[in-house]
Amino acid sequence: MTDNTAVADGTEGSDGTAADSASAAGPLLSVEDLVVEYATAQGPFKAVDGVDFQVPRGGSLAVVGESGCGKSTLARALVRLLKPVSGRIVLDGTDIAALPERRLRPLRRRVQMVFQDPYGSLDPHLTAQQIVAEPLRVAGVSDRVQRARRAAELIDRVGLPSSALERRPPEFSGGQRQRIGIARALASRPDLLVCDEATSALDVSVQAQVLDLLRELQADTGIAYLVIAHNLGVVREISTDVVVMRAGRVVERGATAAVLASPADPYTRALRRASLDPTTIRGVKPRAVLSAAAPDAASPSSPAAVASASPTAPATPLAPATPSSEGNRS
């Protein structure tokens, strides 16, 4: 991590950054054959079913897919809020997939998360300063004054006025709250930020501002992003590489520009077609856009959709959308 901004100083004798580490040559994060299961009444359900990818240092990888595809489960497993059943999560040379909490703790500061819901993810009783300073306390910064100074730097870094420090979440708009969430995530100077739908609850103009902020932070600090999103436009804005997930598996991967310009997997093509860019739609009420994009039954991975395996669906079988048909490009 090339720390040269206000975010950089403030913490005491900081533990090793990516650059110091022995395995600095490899990827920052390498996920190998990861499987995450939930127990259900019908038995174990594989929400993430053998996923592989890598995030290079300072890189930006997006995981895209629709509800139920396993992308949020994946995000939670990467920060070890969930424990995978099998597979490896190699963070800078250390496999953290099965690491006990005690040994995990020192590594937690290196991977931080920004959550989807700007309303539910901040404690409404705490001030912005307390929220941003808390990870510092956990990371062992025992000096209160130092914590406060660093919180002030972070609040400034994410574009909020210093008057924000003493205010509490209910006094902020959704976009401002998301900035506080980002400041909190940056507090421990992580090497990797996992953004789980960090802008999907925001208005389009606020979303654009938050995406700008994320790009700026990356340019300044070399932090790496793993962006979980369902919006292909957002993915195009923020990531250089993309992994498309469906039903727990990767169906396509490659450079973001290439995958969006020429999607190979039928599911990626359907998603691309259903994504509406107002500037490229032509004609008056062009229903054809929709009839081509609409899948027959509700959410493809929902139980209801499966149960219905719809009789109204066109009988024409397509190139089989098997989860294993993986278009591999880069």
């Binding site: 359900f45 389009v204 039903a247 066109p314």
Partner: protein
Amino acid sequence: MAKDTPLLDVADLQVELITGQGVVRAVDGVTFTVRRGETVTLIGESGSGKSTTAMGVLRLLPEGLAVLSGSVRIAGRDVVADPDAARAVRGRTVSLIPQDPMTALSPVHTIGRQLGDALRLRHPELTRTEARDKGVELLGRVRISEPETRWKAYPHQFSGGMLQRILIATALAAEPELLVADEPTSALDATVQASVLDLLMELQEHTGIGMLMITHDLGVARLVSDRIHVMKDGRFVESGSAEEIVERPAEPYTRELLAAVPRLGTWDEDESSYGDGDGRIEPLVQGATS
């Protein structure tokens, strides 16, 4: 109603909301019409007043906390001047597709019960069995498969996209001439959104229903609308055909809004695939029991 009377004729509508911090003018004098077979869209960001306009038109804002002025004529009847007119047209001439399919239905009643209630509001003479037959047919129309079986199911047994279609069926139970759709697809995945919008546009083609659409999504607005009104701080900042608004926006605010939409760029889309099955995705059986 004379043939040229708009289904919905809103003139200088103002809505003042009484809040803890005083009176807020959420809608500040908007004028627009919706005619048969037309889709008119109010687009704007949170707090622009677009949903308040829709709820005001239906008089679904809490009486006593929302003060309406101006006029809102639904099929010729002014619902601002006459609250009884609002009750008379709601669920008959006009119905609402609400925003959040997950919370709009009662979780403790079957969807059959809820759809049946909507049907019998419109046709009190229907017996339970007749309502059921009609309801099952409606579910079929919104492409819910096995509607007979599904009639007895509860909301939690459906996906978001299916619930939104059930809400469309419930709105259609009124046999309305005008549909007010408040962000009908905002809670849905892109591919599911496409299927719901497709359904709405197909219904419009077949029935000539008029639609007032509320959305924050310029892509959705561009696709489904005849006319778009861009709303900000309770006023229309710009109005025009969908093409004009997106391709030749005159107002700085509209331009900013358009500039903020992430671009997707061009792709190797096969235009000839429109209309056939390409791009349709078969439901996966494996791994779909979440």
